[in-house]
């Protein structure tokens, strides 16, 4: 009876699995969905131009990627974590507990965060103050904090279009949201002078608590439907804008650059976001992009160091390389990063 033979043979396959599995010959990469397109472009070219296999690249988010990196050392764990924000002390502690003691930090470029609306809509010339004034839950009126009642952008700043406020911002699980909170909302809040008023009005026990409360107030968005969190990715934001032509959305620069026929970008402080203005530091809302390499896997998983070097080569992350072509802002300190990789220097403690 073949049934009776099949069952032991499947068990045998399972038993053999651990033996076969210990011969991994392609890199495993996971993490940020912002870094994902860059990593796939590099992985594709790496597989084509070298004798190594094409690395397997997964998304999942920056935090999830770093957690996976810190699961331990060995072929069942990933080799590289992509991250659109810097590693946290909690990640490093987790790594150390699991025996991942040496991690190499590689910063390969910058990503701009842009505000864009429908291509046929009005022009927006925003400042962080305007964005904060339009989207914050509480704004300042006559020196006191009141609930935000602005209906149109013109209510916030008369030079803006008289168009109902509706903004699609990345949900809190996104790395992009952190930058939005920090570089747009907090900046705008301080510019408007609201931060000091919030601190003064705070009932916190000491100065630190008061500042913390004020900071959180600066980042609190209104909940009356003017600001909408998008938990999906930029394609969702784009289709929402397609459905609500009056809305403004937050995108990564590379996504905007590949959809310039559908989206109109807003200036911030009068600066148009481009690869040039961001690398010159003129455009204010940008963030560094990283990936973290498990040093213990160099020399164990074939192609790991070569992949990192290939990633940082002029043809890829350099100026005019394939990634800049896609919307990455090249890192001016790439040469130093290359040296650190060549010397396999692990990262030090976070400052």
């Amino acid at each position: 009876m073949s049934l009776i033979k099949l069952i032991p043979s499947t068990v045998a396959i399972l038993a053999a699995s651990t033996v076969i599995a210990s011969a991994r010959d392609q890199l495993q990469i996971a993490g940020s969905s912002t870094v994902l397109p860059y990593a796939t472009i590099v992985a594709e070219a790496f597989g084509e131009n070298t004798d190594f296999n094409t690395p397997v690249v997964e998304g999942g988010g920056s935090g999830a990627g770093r957690k996976k990196l810190c699961e331990g050392v060995g072929e069942a764990t990933i080799d590289i974590a992509n991250s659109s924000s810097r590693i946290k002390q909690s990640d490093i502690d987790l790594c150390n507990t699991n025996g991942v003691t040496e991690i190499m930090e590689v910063r390969f470029g910058y990503d701009g965060i842009v505000f864009a609306s429908d291509i046929n809509g009005a022009d927006f010339a925003l400042t962080p103050k305007d964005v904060w004034g339009a989207l914050a839950a509480e704004v300042v009126k006559d020196g006191a904090a009141v609930a935000n009642t602005a209906k149109t952008w013109a209510d916030v700043n008369a030079s803006l279009p008289a168009q109902a406020i509706m903004a699609f911002v990345p949900g809190t699980k996104h790395g992009t949201r952190e930058v939005f909170d920090e570089k747009v909302l907090t900046e705008g809040c301080k510019e408007a002078g609201a931060y000091d008023i919030f601190v003064a009005a705070s009932t916190g026990a000491d100065d630190d608590a008061k500042k913390k409360e004020a900071g959180a107030k600066c980042m609190a968005l209104r909940t009356d439907g003017a600001s909408i969190d998008i938990d999906g990715d930029y394609t969702e934001t784009l289709s929402r804008i397609d459905a609500n032509k009056m809305a403004v959305g937050v995108f990564g620069l590379s996504f905007y650059e590949n959809n310039t026929d559908k989206l109109k970008v807003a200036t911030i402080n009068g600066i148009v976001p481009t690869v040039e203005t961001i690398s010159a530091g003129d455009y204010p809302v940008s963030r560094p992009l990283f990936f973290y390499v498990k040093k213990a896997h160099i020399g164990v998983i074939p192609g790991l160091k070569e992949y990192v070097e290939f990633f940082l080569s002029d043809d890829m992350a350099g100026e005019g390389g394939a990634l800049a072509d896609y919307g990455l802002v090249p890192d001016p300190e790439l040469a130093a990063t290359r040296e650190a990789v060549a010397a396999e220097t692990p990262m030090g403690a976070l400052e």
Binding site: M1, L3, L6, I7, T10, I13, L14, A16, S17, T18, I20, A21, R24, Q26, Q28, A30, S33, L36, P37, A39, T40, I41, A43, E44, A45, G47, E48, N49, D51, N53, T54, V56, V57, E58, G59, G60, G74, E75, A76, I78, I119, G232, D233, Y234, T235, S254, F255, E257, N258, N259, T260, D261, K262, D315, A322, D325, Y326
Partner: protein, 438 residues
């Protein structure tokens, strides 16, 4: 007493008849709504997805210049490999420029650097592999048919227009006008694109080259694993429960649990798979074996339930007759009951497999939503290589930034639907062909 004609309806009859008419109308409108929804879905999927099966190609002769491709001149493959795809891209652009000049097409505003942008970035890699596989090609002129870039392709599929191209940094109206000239000269044409089914996934820079090859193989491997594991285990469990097990509280408990397991949301199996197969057993991520094992767990109750129903449907008289002529209980089952129940079992299995094929949620958790470009090896080792799967490939493509992936995702849905319909058709065929009534 008033006289009432049998032919004239009284008030109550009228209201009863009207109620019946209303009920029929409700039913009919429900069906119409359902059908409209289905038609709408199919029209949108096919409208978006059919273009993925056709692609714009540019055909021209390429002179494989030894001075560019084999600087040492010794046809040593290891040394020739130093010329990267960037070198090959330039070679393709110069050859195309020469071909256009020979056909008398004026480049106009388009610079020769822009010509590289009109050709898919996949093409240099294809050409490079061809040359490295056969170094004797160097020095010859070969005819190549390369994919046009996603924007040029989009122009012929109505996704890109002259107006949108003017605002698009990846193309320009001049490039599109040149493409029109190339089309009338016969250099550029729209052709059937078998690569959509055979090529692997591609990065955001080359949506035109993305294909379902790896995903189809991955799904196939997973279905093989599910079939090999779930069918014997499911049938053995059902036969034991139905034919041999004593009826007591313990077997009742098992029965209730099997029914419950069939209703457990599939994402739960994904979490289970991550914990057991990857974290505990140390199986590799993104591998079809893990996907297959997770889907096996999910499919088992869905096979056991119809199998038991099929076994129950075999009349007791068959068993009694077999036992009466002296067959053992095992012989009764293997010689009589199982063969008679087989059509029902097969139908249940195929429908269970079809459900497993379309399942996405558990695969998200075990690393199948990855960018995989290398084809997995032949089984059994290949089961441990990374691969994608059809439903997660669709999910993956809907998240890409380039608009060219929209048609790819819908095209992949069509492929998945074709597979599902084929499997269900086979199931119906088996049921019709072997069905027996007592």
């Amino acid at each position: 007493m008033t006289r009432v004609s049998l032919f004239a309806q009284d008030a109550r009859t009228k209201s009863r008849n009207a109620a019946e008419k209303r009920f029929r109308a409700y039913g009919l409108s429900a069906i119409v709504v359902a059908l409209l929804a289905l038609v709408w879905l199919l029209v949108s999927i096919f409208g978006n997805g059919l273009p993925a099966f056709r692609q714009t190609f540019i055909s021209f002769p390429v002179t494989l210049d030894a001075a560019v491709l084999d600087k040492a001149g010794n046809r040593n493959v290891a040394e020739m490999a130093k010329t990267t795809t960037i070198g090959y891209a330039k070679l393709l652009a110069t050859s195309l420029e020469a071909e256009l000049a020979a056909k008398g097409i004026d480049l106009g505003e388009v610079k020769s650097k822009d010509l590289t942008k009109m050709i898919s970035e996949e093409s240099p890699a294809t050409l490079r592999n061809r040359v490295l596989a056969d170094p004797s090609l160097i020095g010859q002129t070969v005819q190549v048919s390369v994919l046009a870039s996603g924007r040029i392709d989009g122009y012929y599929k109505g996704r890109v227009s002259m107006e949108s191209a003017a605002k698009d940094k990846n193309t320009s109206p001049e490039q599109l006008a040149l493409a029109d000239q190339m089309q009338s000269a016969g250099v550029l044409s729209m052709q059937l694109n078998p690569g959509f089914l055979t090529m692997p996934d591609a990065s955001d820079k080359r949506p035109e080259a993305a294909g379902l090859g790896v995903a189809i193989i991955g799904s196939l491997y997973m279905m093989v694993v599910v079939l090999v594991l779930a069918l014997p285990i499911g049938v053995a469990a059902s036969v034991y429960l139905e034919e041999f097990a004593p009826k007591n509280k313990f077997t009742d408990l098992i029965e209730v649990n099997i029914a419950n397991l069939a209703a457990v949301p599939s994402i739960v199996y994904g979490i289970l798979g991550l914990a057991i197969f990857i974290n505990f057993a140390g199986l590799p991520q993104s591998a079809p074996i893990v996907g297959g094992l997770v889907l096996t767990l999910m499919t088992l109750p869905r096979i056991i339930i119809p199998t038991r129903a099929a076994l129950k449907a075999v009349p007791p008289s068959i068993r009694d007759a077999a036992l009466g002529v002296g067959a053992s209980r095992l012989q009764t089952v293997t010689h009589h009951v199982l063969p008679l129940a087989m059509p029902g079992i097969l139908t249940g299995t195929i429908i269970g497999l079809a459900q497993a094929l379309g399942e996405t949620a558990p695969l998200l958790l075990i690393g199948m939503v990855a960018f995989v470009r290398d084809f997995p090896g032949a089984p059994p080792e290949g089961l441990f290589d990374p691969a994608a799967a059809l439903p997660v490939q669709i999910y993956n493509w809907t998240q890409r930034g380039d608009p060219g992936f929209v048609e790819r995702a819908s095209g992949a849905i069509i492929v998945l639907l074709v597979f599902l319909i084929a499997m269900n058709a086979i199931a119906i065929y088996f049921r019709r062909k072997f069905e027996r009534r007592w």
